[in-house]
C-alpha cells in the first residue's frame, strides 16, 4: 500500500494529462492562433521578450521531462543552454554556417554530451545528482572564460554576431521573423514531447521514477533510459540555447551563470512538474516577473522576486498546472455531485 507522496506528486500530473488528452485541439488551437497573430500587435521590445519566452519554454520543457517525469533533479541545465548558444555563435562567426542549421546541430551535440554526462551521473540520486549538476552549472562560466580556448570562445568578451534577416518576400521584419521562426520550432518541440511522453516512453519514465526496482524487474533498462532522458533534456535545452543566442545575437560567459540554471528550475516548478503546458507558464514567469520586480523596487528587485517566488509556492505548490488541475477536478466533482 503505497501511501505517500513521491517527491513529484505523480497522480495529479497524469490526471491532468488525461484531461488534456481528451481535448487537446480545442484547448490549443485558439492559443496557437493568438501566438501567430501576436507580431501584428506587439512592439519591438515586447516581441523580443516574447521570443525569449518561447526559448525558455523549450528549455523548461527539456528540464521538465527530466525532473518532472523521470524524477532526476538537474540544477545544471544552464550548462547545456550555454553549449547550445556557443555552438551557434561559433558556427555562425567562425564557419559561416547559416543560422537555421546551427539549431539542430546544437541540439544533437547537446544530446550526445547530455547522454555522456548522464551515464556516470545516473549513479547519483536526488541531492547528490543535484550537487553534481550544480557543480556543472557553477563551473560553466569559469570554463568559458578559460584562456586556452578563448580563441574559439572569445574569452571574457564573448562573441557578437549580426541579426539574421527575414527571408526575401515575406511581409515581416527581422524581429517578427525571428519570433515566427522560434514559434515554429517551439511548436515542433512541444508536439515531439507530447508524443514521446504519451506513449510507452512516457510510461516507462514514470515507472522508473516511482518504482525503479520494479521497473528494472519488468525489463526496462533503467540505466540506459535515465541517460537517454538526460540526453533528451539536454537536447531541448541546447536547442533553446541556440535559439536564445540567435535572438540576442550575443554570447558571453557571465550570461550563463548559475542564475540561469536556477531560473530554469523555478520555471519548471512554477509551471508545474510533469506538465507540458506548464512550461509556457514557467517561461512567462521567469521572463516577465523579474522585470516586474524591478519596477516594484529599483533598489532590491531580486528581493521582490524572491518574495513573489515564496508567495507563488504558497498559492500553488504544485505549480500553475497543479492549480489548474485542482480547479478542473473540483469543477468535475461539482458536475457529478
Amino acid at each position: 500500500m503505497a501511501s505517500g507522496d513521491t517527491m513529484l506528486n505523480k497522480p495529479t500530473a497524469f490526471a491532468r494529462l488525461a484531461v488534456l488528452r481528451a481535448r487537446p485541439i480545442i484547448g490549443v488551437l485558439p492559443l496557437l492562433l493568438l501566438a501567430v497573430a501576436l507580431p501584428l500587435v506587439a512592439s519591438g521590445y515586447l516581441m523580443f521578450q516574447l521570443t525569449l519566452t518561447l526559448v525558455y519554454a523549450i528549455a523548461i520543457l527539456g528540464l521538465n521531462m527530466l525532473t518532472g517525469y523521470s524524477g532526476q533533479i538537474s540544477l545544471g541545465h544552464g550548462a547545456f543552454y550555454a553549449i547550445g548558444a556557443y555552438i551557434t555563435a561559433i558556427l555562425i562567426t567562425r564557419f559561416g554556417v547559416d543560422y537555421w542549421w546551427t539549431v539542430p546541430i546544437a541540439g544533437l551535440v547537446c544530446l550526445v554530451v547530455g547522454f555522456l554526462f548522464g551515464l556516470p551521473a545516473l549513479r547519483l540520486e536526488g541531492l547528490y545528482l543535484a550537487l553534481a549538476t550544480f557543480a556543472l552549472a557553477a563551473a560553466t562560466p569559469q570554463i568559458l572564460k578559460y584562456n586556452r580556448i578563448s580563441g574559439w570562445t572569445g574569452g571574457v568578451q564573448g562573441i557578437v554576431f549580426a541579426k539574421p534577416d527575414a527571408p526575401h518576400g515575406l511581409p515581416v521584419n527581422a524581429d517578427q521573423w525571428l519570433y515566427l521562426f522560434t514559434l515554429a520550432i517551439t511548436i515542433v518541440m512541444f508536439v515531439l514531447a507530447w508524443n514521446l511522453l504519451r506513449g510507452r516512453i512516457g510510461r516507462a519514465m514514470v515507472a522508473i521514477r516511482d518504482h525503479p526496482i520494479a521497473a528494472a524487474a519488468m525489463g526496462i533498462d533503467v540505466s540506459l533510459f535515465k541517460s537517454l532522458m538526460f540526453g533528451v533534456g539536454a537536447l531541448y535545452t541546447g536547442i533553446a540555447g541556440s535559439l536564445g543566442a540567435i535572438v540576442v545575437q550575443f554570447v558571453s560567459p557571465d550570461a550563463f551563470n548559475i542564475l540561469l540554471s536556477i531560473s530554469l528550475l523555478v520555471g519548471v516548478v512554477v509551471g508545474g512538474l510533469g506538465s507540458i503546458p506548464g512550461a509556457i507558464f514557467g517561461a512567462l514567469f521567469i521572463e516577465f516577473v523579474p522585470d516586474f520586480a524591478g519596477q516594484v523596487s529599483k533598489a532590491a528587485p531580486w528581493a521582490v522576486y524572491g518574495l513573489l517566488l515564496i508567495a507563488c509556492m504558497y498559492a500553488a505548490p504544485s505549480g500553475v498546472a497543479g492549480l489548474a488541475g485542482r480547479v478542473l477536478a473540483s469543477v468535475g466533482r461539482v458536475g457529478r455531485g
Partner: protein, 290 residues
C-alpha cells in the same frame, strides 16, 4: 615546504568555515530532509548585522554574541513562519522557497549595506604568533573558535536532555510525537542552531575574504559539497569533509591548476568521488523495501 605548510594551515582555516556551514546543512537535513540553500546568505546577513553593531560602537565580543542570538531567533521564526507551512507540499516547492529566501537576503543586504566591499574586524591581534610566517593569528583564532563551537555542539547533543530530544525528533518524528516531543519546536531549534553556526562562520571568514553580499556563495557550494562528500546524514562526515576540502582547495590552487579553475577542479573531484561512492565517503547505503 614553506609554501606547502602555509597552504595547508590556511586551508584548515577555510576548511573550518566549510565544516561549520556543512554541519549546519546536515543538521537541517537530518531534521527535515531538506537542504537549506539559503544558509550561506543567512550567514552573510548575520555578518552584516554584526558589522552594523560594531560600526555603531559596540565592542567586538558583545556584538559577536548578540549577533549569534539574533540569528538564532530569526532563523527559528523563519522556520516556523515560512518553511513549516509547506511541509505537506511537494519537496521542490520548499526548494523554491529556499531559493526565494536566498534572493531576498542577498538583495536586501545589497540594498541596505551596498555592494561595496567592506573590511570586517578580527578580534585577534594582527601580529603573527611567535613571528611565524605560516599562519596569521586570525587564522589560528578562527580555527580555535570553530573547534570550540563544534565541541560545544557535540557536548550539547550528546549530553543534554534537549540535545537528546532534538536528535530523537530528527531520527523518528512520529515516535517522538508519540512520546510527547513537540517536533515542530525541535525543528525550529535546529534551524536556530544552524543559523548560529552560520553566523560564526561568516564572522570568522569575513576578515579574510572581506564583507560583501556575494561573499558566501562560493563558501556555500563548498559546504554543500563537503556535506555530501561526508554523507549527507553524517555530522562527522560533514566536519571532516569541510576541513579536507579547505586543504584540497588550497593545494590544488597553489600547485596544480592555479586559482582560475580551482573551483571547477575541486568540484570535478567531488563528483568523481561521488560516482565511485554515491552516498558519500562515510554515508550509509539505506536499504529500502520494494
Amino acid at each position: 615546504m614553506n609554501g606547502f605548510l602555509h597552504q595547508v594551515l590556511s586551508g584548515l582555516t577555510t576548511g573550518g568555515i566549510y565544516a561549520s556551514l556543512a554541519l549546519a546543512l546536515v543538521m537541517i537535513y537530518r531534521a527535515t530532509d531538506l537542504v537549506n540553500f539559503a544558509q550561506g546568505e543567512m550567514a552573510m546577513f548575520s555578518t552584516y548585522v554584526a558589522w552594523s553593531m560594531i560600526n555603531a560602537g559596540l565592542p567586538y565580543w558583545p556584538a559577536f554574541l548578540l549577533t549569534i542570538g539574533v540569528s538564532f531567533l530569526a532563523a527559528a521564526l523563519i522556520q516556523l513562519a515560512v518553511i513549516r507551512p509547506l511541509a505537506g507540499a511537494p519537496i521542490l516547492a520548499s526548494v523554491i522557497v529556499f531559493i526565494g529566501l536566498l534572493l531576498v537576503f542577498n538583495s536586501i543586504a545589497g540594498w541596505i549595506f551596498s555592494y561595496t566591499i567592506k573590511p570586517f574586524p578580527s578580534p585577534f591581534p594582527s601580529k603573527p604568533l611567535w613571528e611565524n610566517s605560516y599562519i596569521s593569528t586570525h587564522e589560528v583564532g578562527a580555527i580555535g573558535v570553530t573547534l570550540v563551537l563544534l565541541a560545544m555542539l557535540f557536548a550539547f547533543f550528546r549530553w543534554t536532555e534537549l540535545g537528546l530530544t532534538m536528535r530523537a525528533a530528527a531520527e523518528n518524528p512520529v515516535s517522538s510525537r508519540l512520546v510527547g516531543i513537540r517536533v515542530a519546536r525541535m525543528v525550529a531549534l535546529g534551524w536556530g542552531l544552524a543559523a548560529a553556526l552560520g553566523a560564526v562562520a561568516g564572522m570568522m571568514v569575513a576578515p579574510i575574504i572581506f564583507l560583501e553580499p556575494n561573499m558566501m556563495s562560493g563558501v556555500l557550494l563548498y559546504a554543500f559539497a563537503a556535506a555530501l562528500l561526508g554523507g549527507i546524514e553524517n555530522p562527522w562526515g560533514a566536519v571532516i569533509g569541510g576541513f579536507t576540502l579547505g586543504i584540497l582547495e588550497n593545494l590544488l590552487g597553489a600547485y596544480l591548476i592555479g586559482t582560475e579553475l580551482k573551483m571547477t577542479v575541486a568540484l570535478a573531484i567531488i563528483v568523481l568521488v561521488l560516482v565511485v561512492k554515491p552516498s558519500g565517503v562515510f554515508g550509509r547505503i539505506v536499504l529500502t523495501r520494494v
